[in-house]
Symmetry: C2
Subunit: 237 residues, 2 copies
DNA sequence: TGTACATCAGTGAACGCGCGTTCACTGATGTAC
DNA sequence: TGTACATCAGTGAACGCGCGTTCACTGATGTAC
């Protein structure tokens, strides 16, 4: 009884995954906002109503894709970071930030889905979407707090009062990081994000040519602004 | 003869403007990627084919909207900057960058049109679009070069070789600015752009609360990184 | 001042295509006795 | 081992809607003589 139930369930889940996979491939071609159930069904050689066995609505499929994308993005950052020893804070931070971009370039459609223009007519259920989105920042903040605890990090930015007040009032948003690290983390995030967005939508490449070099330089500046230097890391060989 | 010709032309141009105006209003409601000729015609109480007297194709309308948006964005920056005396370089730079965001927030649809996800199925003719896009950077670079000429600016960033090489090889891209100023300008652009993109697509507000304060702080940091201080400006009262 | 003519904005019907979702249904699979 | 039954993936037709673009046309305006 149990066996066949789980067998059926596994089959069901596998088709769900296949649908998402096809959807991702199609988004890559036609853009995220053109995601179409009928087109997915066509590619799977199945009629459109069949998909309703797996997703009650187009919006539910989109939500699933968004959550997957946030998870995969954060996972890519975490894995890249984990390749260095725990004490190599500068390298870990650099690796996480490089992975932020690498994943985006390798999964453009998914990245646009979560960080580009919202899909018209779709509105994400924020109670599902917000926690998924928070993971990337969590990876960064984890490294920053570790570095600070070991005296490796000296952030020196001024922090506006309004930011401080919001931080004090929203304990769930700060992810156990003290204000200065939190602010440094968000600053870093917005900076690499800016470069990446300009790159992905083709505004930056004609201006600087080598966007990879530009991105890496921005990471270096960021590390330096926290007095966190790659050379200070323990031997990473 | 001439009189009536120009009268007709003026009428024609006025309708063209009205079409674009309605298009902008609709983009604001439904998102830029849902721009529809039929919907515009409906709102203008006219049949859809009538619009073909004014734009040969939907894509031409989009291109016109994009060019208008780039022009208006740069104009907003330029006007804001022009409210300060020529020697108040720090204030001028700050004003231009604040206008970058203000215009975006006040004209979200237009901003998304030029800096958000591309409209599926549409591809911009870059020979028209690129010069229009370059104006914003030109405003920034003009202020930077003025400040540098008066010894007010000391950029100290390291510049990757790849960026230098591209700059040397593409004189049309650098807009008469020396490499260090050019690099500083692009860096500033990408930073404020990052904050703005995260804000506009609702990723930043839940994290920092007051995005305006965050944005201003990032501008301050930027000015400081060029040793350009508001207090050094001549009396601006 | 009055008539013939050109211009061109706008119409209405049509083409051929897309979409999400519903509904009653078939037919295979696997379960329970 | 064999039969009755439940489950549920997938079908096919339909609903009601959207879209960009074309085409032959009407009808008003203003020009030229």
């Amino acid at each position: 009884v149990i066996d066949s139930n789980t067998r059926k369930d596994r089959q069901h889940d596998a088709v769900r995954e296949e649908i998402k996979q096809v959807a991702r491939r199609q988004m890559a071609v036609q853009g995220a906002s053109n995601l179409s159930l009928r087109a997915i069904a066509r590619e799977m050689e199945v009629t459109a109503p069949a998909l309703y066995r797996y997703f009650p609505t187009r919006d539910d499929l989109i939500t699933a894709l968004i959550v997957d994308a946030f998870n995969a993005h954060a996972a890519a950052m975490d894995e890249a970071q984990a390749e260095y020893p725990r004490e190599a804070y500068a390298h870990r931070l650099q690796a996480a930030m490089l992975a932020y971009r690498r994943w985006a370039l390798e999964n453009r459609a998914d990245f646009e889905l979560i960080y580009g223009s919202p899909i018209p007519g779709y509105s994400a259920p924020s109670e599902i979407t917000t926690p998924a989105a928070a993971q990337a920042m969590a990876v960064i903040l984890d490294i920053l707090t570790g570095a600070a605890r070991h005296g490796r990090l000296k952030p020196e930015a001024q922090i506006p009062d309004a930011i401080r007040l919001y931080w004090e009032a929203n304990p769930d948003m700060r992810m156990n990081a003290p204000l200065d690290l939190f602010h440094l983390g968000v600053t870093g995030w917005s900076r690499i994000h800016g470069v990446l967005m300009l790159e992905i939508f083709e505004h930056l490449p004609p201006v600087v040519g080598d966007t990879d070099a530009f991105y890496r330089q921005e990471i270096n500046t960021l590390l330096a602004s926290g007095q966190l230097h790659l050379e200070d890391d323990p031997n990473t060989s």
